[in-house]
Each structure stands twice: as structure tokens, then as C-alpha cells.
Subunit: 487 residues, 2 copies
């Protein structure tokens, strides 16, 4: 992530006024160079043009916001390194072929069609590399991975309202080797990598010349982190092993094992009774639960803090998230935990027209409210709220830069937790409908929960097209088993 | 393809007898080293074990053969760098999202389930790197791409019958830069690369800072080769542009163009009337047909032999196939065109128990028969024939090494062409049911042909699962348009 290295320097010289020479293709001398001020871009809006909302990110928060923005009031410009939203709760299922990758990816152009055809609305495949709040501008750099004939180039976008929804980064707790050897489970390409590695290991372990010990190592799948992602992935893996490996990789079926490592309790946010149920269920499915802390990650083994060596063939890391380099370096007030600090209306105070939602934002200490958990549910609710707020501001004529500052904003954002769900494999799931860990309320586990889990997510999938595909994928997995072609 | 470099040396020292020390993991010192004799593997079969058929490759020929092999007579061992068969006639449709990648890939374990669970049948993800016909052995090296913690290792497999079905390589005619800058269209990963590049170019061309000229270059899709693959891909591209780009990438819709370059006539094997129809249809859909020969391929442009520069953003190369490095280097008699020479029964004469089918094989001059075209149809028919022949040999007790040499083999292989089909986009296709270019017979073009094209391929798709998915994909493309998420 070299492009963040020079961010501090960059934001310090933002007072310089750029001379826009639009449509000239700039080539950076070397990729490691400092990011120079961009020379092309979208300049400030002027009436009768619509005011411009710039959204950084295309996760739950950003996409829900874009969906809700009234495009008769605003032009929408989205800047993100990926052109789709990932339906994260179902990502674990794609690693083992229960679902296709395409079924959990929703193109942004379908979520907010205006970016495809409105003359002033755009999607830019780029990273935001700097913010010039004084001039109401963001500085961006294109993503050109895989296109070796084109260097990335810089451009700037003037915003009337800026929504930072750039999300968080997977936490590694400074443990050496995690980034090099473990795979996270946050993007579609992570799921693709896990799938390719799992299938490769299954095939390699069957080739003559592999020792028994090496076979056991190759087929040892280790998951670090016992939150919903880690538990759901372990459950999916054990389903895959019990049904598909036993049928399609008979030669090596006795060598494959799943271990879930967690420092504390698994699913700590769930009801005690549900946690016991999950533990029993996972153990029954052959998942080994290990309580431990990882000290070091090496290419073929991890070392726990008690000195135990755990050899692995596949290592999936899901120990939660922390602020990204972009958020750490940005020159805005911070909330506890290093997130961008917002007030009750999700505004970044003291800098006009900037809002932050989702995992990258948190309540400022001055609000007296606790930081909300990094959940899709929170991000989505914030996106929805902010879209309504921006629409209201726009309708009342405050949509342009520095407009609407002294407007009555209405009710602040209030988060109401609707409950948590997690599947543990074998057609079993947990549904915890209590509003907090201390509150009373319904919490159930088993097949009924699993049915609720599936139905709930199916209705949450954004488009009818993907809803249809997810249902079809589930049906074919049930009838034909999971797909095992390594493409 | 370094692993073929040392093949000659390797086959010359094959007289050395290996000392098998099974299940020891060998690491090659460096990837560029000569391939040393393997130390582990599957030794010769002995009664009461079943005789072993080793199949090199998992294309149309190899897979049809494996499907037809009677596994109560033989054990089947397949060696291939990919664990699935690609349904090549529908590959072009996956590049633009009409079909999902998974729908055209068929896992070998589904084609021949014995390799998944029979104790003596296997699939090995490996390349064959040498043949020791004297000792009835093949030498293989594992594929470990993407698994940096494991070096490839060598192993050997003793065969009773060896079927070489390793296919051919895309021809570049020695033109500089083709391998570096053009994308072929033969494997699923090629289609994935084309798709990613096309979507990336569409997005990049919309970013501020791109000159008009660069925009035109980025969105210029050039296809070299006017055979069925090139024509079908051009047709799919123009469908994608006319429907999906015009709807989803309105900002850049006027910049995207498709050019098809062919040195002679397009679809030269088809009826003249059909060729005229195809030309008219493609031109109507906006595909520019250029008659020319490519002299040089550079990162951003190709140079034709008349000196014209053709800037491109995406270059797809489909000018037919020629013998692969493995086939060129193997020490077996050759047919005209450099293919492995076979007799009327698809046997490699003078070396017992070796057969060759599909694009890698051709009739020896002594048979007086012409080389068959490199078509899925030919490969599939050969695979089917050889499976029956091997079953017959096995049933009569000649399945083991050096068995069945003086057996009556029955009718030789005769190829009867069933006709050719190609789609040109816009729900139009060509169906040429004549047995050869000179023969009389039915040849039709238009919507009816397109309907025949779709129905025929749908029935040819190997498994019910994929048949179902292809139908569903076609339906959703029709209803919702093509998917544009770049994952």
C-alpha cells in the first residue's frame, strides 16, 4: 500500500491550487514516487448542475447510501478499488463451492443505475489518496492491476458533499507473517484464493511422492478467529469435507482436518446457550477447537504463544478489523479506536460537508456514545440514514458545497440492533434476537435457525438476479454436491 | 514452458532403471534445473490388480475416452495440468458474462467417477515431462502454481496402455509479441483474463485524465483470426456492446469498437453463402472486418504487413493450433504437421501400448489418410472409439503391458463429419451440415440456426448440472443482461 506512505506530505501541501489541464494522460515516473498533485479531474459544480455527492468505498455503507440518494437532486460519484459490492455474510459459502462467486457480488451500476448513464454521475475504479478539505477536493489514483501497458494516473474530484465509507482493514495484531502466509476472508478474490489453494492441496496430497506427514500438513485447514466469519467458514469446510471430499477425494479423506483457533470464547457476542450449542455442533462435525494465541506465522506452520507448532496447508485469518492506512493517515478528528470521528448526525465536525459511515467511522467521545460494532447491519443502517439526511439537505437547497450548514437536521442517527445470526454447518445455525448481550429476548439454534438464516439472507441479497442465483446455487449444491473444478 | 527444455536429454537416459523410494518428498534445487529421474510413483501392475490405462490430458479426446473406459476392466490414471474439461464451444460466451465460467468447466471426477474413489484410479494435477516407452513408464511433474511453499516434484507412472491426448498449442506463426501481449481463447483462465481486461478498460476509459485517443485505443477490441472462435467471440462482443455497454457504460459507449483481422476469408470451412451471411451480419453489428496479416505485436498496437498501425486495448488471438512443445520433443514417429503419427486404429506403431488421440495426433503418411481437422468433434469421436477398442482388448485379456499385440482389433477408426456451427451474435448462427466443403447438403443461417446452435450445444454439455446452469445463465442474461462485476 505504498500510495498511503506519502499521504501526510500530500495533505500538507493541499493549499496549492491545481491548474486543471483536463484529459491529458499523465504517467508516473515510478510506482514508488510521491503522489504528485493531479492535473485532471471533475471541477466544482455550478448551478444549474446538480450538486455532487462523492462516495469513497463500495461496501455495505457506501452502497446502501448510493441506493438511497435521490439522483434527481444529486449527481453521485463513487470512487472504489472494486466495481461491485460483496455480500459478505455469504462469502464463506463461496470458498467451498456452495455458492458461486458471482452470486455474492453486486455491480454498483445495478445498485445505483445513475452512475451508468447520468452525464454527471460516475464510478471510478481508483483509490482515494488524499483529501483537500479546504478546497473541497479528493485526490485519487486509478487501479490498473493486470494492465501492464498503463501506469496508474492521478486525478481530482471536487465534492459538494463527501461520504467516507472506505471500510476497515483485517487486523493482524502485528503478528509476523500473517499478511504473507494467511488468507483473509473479506473480498471475492480472497474466497477465490482459498478455494484454489484448498483444491490444489487436495490434489497434491494425492500425488505419489508425498509423505504421510506432508499429506496431513497439506490437508490441515486452520482458521484463526472464532467470530461469525471464522465459525461459518469452519462450518462450511466441515460440510464440504463430510459430503464432497468423502465422495470426490476418497483417497485422501482421512487426512483432512479443520482446526479453529480462538484466544477467548467463540462467538463471544452470542448468548451463552448458543455458544455451547455451536461448540458442540462444530466438534460433532469434526472441527477441532483450540484455545490459543498465535505468536508467529511461518510458511508451513504457525507457532502458538505456549510454544506449540501447528503445521497447516491452508490458513484463514479472521480476527476482526481495525482502521485502514488511509483512515489512520487522514487529517480528520478521530474517535476511540482510530476511526474517523463523527457526531450524532454522522458528520465529521469542524470540516464542512464531510460525513463518515460504516467500519471506518465511530462516534466522537464528545457524543458520549459507544463505538458501534463493525457489522454489515450497522454500516447499512448508517448508509440508509445518511442518504435520507442528504436528500433532506438537498431538497432544502443545501446540497452545494458549504450549503446547509445552519439547517435543522432532524433526528440524529440511532442504532437499534436487530440480532445476530451465524451458521455452524450441517443445516444448523444460531439466531440471537436480543438487542444486546445483557438484554433478554429470543435466541434459538438448530435447523429452524438455519432456515431463518437462509431465508433472511436471501431476502437481503440486493438484486433479484443474485437472489435467483443464490437460490439456484443452494438447490444445485443440494442435488449435485459442490463444484470441484479448479478454474 | 521450461520443463520441456530438457526433454530430449531426459528421454535419452530413460534406459536407467529407477530405484523407487515411494512417498519421499523431493524438492528440486531450482525451477530451471534439469528434470531428474523421479523416485516415487505407481509401479507396474500385477494380477490380480486391474491393468492401468494412463491418459495424458483432459480435453475433449481424453475426457471422452475416460468416460467410455470400462472401469471394471481397467484402472484409469489421468495426468493433466487442469482438473476439469473445458466445454470450448461455449468459452467465448463466458468472456462477456453471457455464461458463467463454472458453467463451461466439467470436473474430471464427474466425467469418470472412478478416479475419485477406486483405489487404483487417480487424477494427478501434473505435466507429463518424459516418456520411457521401453519400461512402460511416463515421468511427470506436479503443478504447484500459487502454492509458494511447495516446490514441484517428480514422479513416475507405469502404464499398461498409454493414451496421449495432450492437445495442441495456439499458433503464433513466430510473430513477435503475440505470447506477451495477446490473449488466447482456449482455457477458462484465458476467458477470465479477457473479461477482467475488457471491464478494466471500460472503467479506465471513463476516468478523468484519459485523452480521446487513449480512450479509443483502450476500447478497441481486436480479434486476430476469422475461424469459428474468432467469429463467435466477435459476435459475443458486439452483443455485449449493443446491449450491455449501451446500458451500463453510457459515458463511453461511442468509443468501443471491435475489429476482426483475417488474412483470408472468415469461416473458410463453411459454405460460401453462409460466409457472405456471416460477413453481412457481423458488419451490421458493428464489427469491422479487416483483411490483413499481422507482422508485429507491440504492447499498445499491432503492425500489419502493409505497414498499418492498429492500436488496441484488448487483443485476442485465435489463428488455430499447432503441435505443443511436448509433442514436438517426444521421441515417437510423427505425422505430417508435426503431430504424433498413428495408424488406422489410433495406435502409435512400433511402440507397443501407446495410442494418441485428439489434436496432438494425426494419421501417418503410410495410412494414406489426410490429417483430420483440430475439432472437438474429431477429438470426441476418437476418444469414444479408442475407449471401445481398449475395452475390447481388455475383455479379451490383452489389457496388461505388451498384451493384445496380435489380437484382431476389428474395424479401424473412420471419421464422419456431422457438420459445423458458429454463432455470429444477435441471435443469429450458421449451421453447415455438409460432410465436406465440396459435398452437397443442408446449410442454413439465421435465427433458426441460432436456435439449433443453442439446443445442440445444450445437449452436448457433459453433466446435467452444467446443462442446467447453462440454461439458467442464458435465461438470466436474457432477462437481466450480462453481469459486469469485475471479480
Amino acid at each position: 500500500m505504498y500510495r498511503f506512505k506519502n499521504l501526510t506530505r500530500f495533505t500538507h501541501r493541499t493549499a496549492t491550487k491545481f491548474t486543471p489541464t483536463p484529459f491529458s494522460l499523465r504517467h508516473l515516473a515510478t510506482a514508488g514516487d510521491a503522489v504528485a498533485p493531479p492535473t485532471a479531474g471533475l471541477g466544482p459544480t455550478k448551478k444549474p448542475d446538480k450538486p455532487r455527492v462523492v462516495v469513497l468505498g463500495s461496501g455495505w455503507a457506501g452502497c446502501r447510501l448510493m441506493k438511497g440518494i435521490d439522483t434527481s437532486i444529486y449527481d453521485v460519484v463513487c470512487v472504489s478499488p472494486r466495481n461491485h459490492m460483496v455480500f459478505t455474510p455469504l462469502l464463506a459459502s463461496t470458498c467451498v463451492g456452495t455458492l458461486e462467486f458471482r452470486s455474492v457480488a453486486e455491480p454498483i451500476g445495478r445498485i445505483q443505475p445513475a452512475i451508468s448513464h447520468e452525464p454527471g454521475s460516475f464510478f471510478f475504479l481508483a483509490n482515494c489518496v488524499g483529501l483537500d478539505s479546504k478546497n473541497h477536493e479528493v485526490h485519487c489514483q486509478t487501479i490498473t492491476d493486470g494492465l501492464q501497458t498503463l501506469d496508474p494516473w492521478d486525478f481530482k474530484i471536487s465534492y459538494d458533499k463527501l461520504v467516507i465509507a472506505s471500510g476497515a482493514e483485517a487486523s493482524t495484531f502485528g503478528i509476523k507473517g500473517v499478511k504473507e502466509h494467511a488468507i483473509f476472508l473479506r473480498e471475492v478474490h480472497h474466497a477465490q484464493e482459498i478455494r484454489r489453494k484448498l483444491l490444489l492441496n487436495l490434489m497434491l496430497s494425492d500425488v505419489p511422492g508425498v509423505s504421510e506427514e506432508e499429506k496431513r500438513r497439506l490437508l490441515h485447514c486452520v482458521v484463526v478467529g472464532g467470530g461469525p466469519t471464522g465459525v461459518e467458514f469452519s462450518g462450511e469446510l466441515s460440510d464440504f469435507i463430510m459430503r464432497d471430499v468423502h465422495q470426490r477425494y476418497t483417497h485422501v479423506q482421512d487426512y483432512i482436518h479443520v482446526t479453529l483457533i480462538e484466544a477467548n470464547d467463540i462467538l463471544s457476542s452470542f448468548d451463552d446457550r448458543l455458544r455451547v450449542y455451536a461448540t458442540t455442533q462444530l466438534t460433532k462435525s469434526g472441527v477441532r477447537l483450540v484455545r490459543g494465541t498465535v505468536k508467529d506465522v511461518q510458511p508451513k506452520k504457525i507457532v502458538l504463544s505456549d510454544g506449540t507448532d501447528v503445521p497447516y496447508g491452508l490458513l484463514v485469518w479472521s480476527t476482526g478489523v481495525g482502521p485502514s492506512a488511509f483512515v489512520r493517515n487522514i487529517d480528520l478528528p478521530k474517535a476511540p479506536g482510530g476511526r474517523i470521528g463523527v457526531d450524532d448526525w454522522l458528520r465529521v465536525p469542524s470540516t464542512p460537508d464531510i460525513f463518515a459511515i460504516g467500519d471506518c467511522s465511530g462516534y466522537l467521545e464528545s457524543t458520549g456514545k459507544p463505538t458501534l460494532p463493525a457489522l454489515a447491519q450497522v454500516a447499512e443502517r448508517e448508509g440508509k440514514y445518511l442518504a435520507q439526511l442528504l436528500n433532506k439537505i438537498g431538497k432544502e437547497g443545501g446540497g452545494y458545497a458549504n450549503g446547509g450548514g445552519d439547517m435543522e437536521l432532524g433526528a440524529p442517527f440511532v442504532y437499534k440492533h436487530l440480532g445476530s445470526m451465524a451458521t455452524v454447518g450441517s443445516y444448523k445455525a444460531l439466531v440471537d434476537l436480543r438487542q444486546s448481550k445483557e438484554a433478554k429476548g429470543l435466541s434459538i439454534a438448530g435447523f429452524t435457525s438455519w432456515f431463518i438464516w437462509r431465508s433472511a439472507y436471501l431476502t437481503r441479497v440486493v438484486s433479484w438476479r443474485n437472489r435467483f442465483y443464490v437460490a439456484i446455487n443452494w438447490l444445485t449444491t443440494f442435488v449435485f454436491g459442490r463444484d470441484i473444478s479448479r478454474i
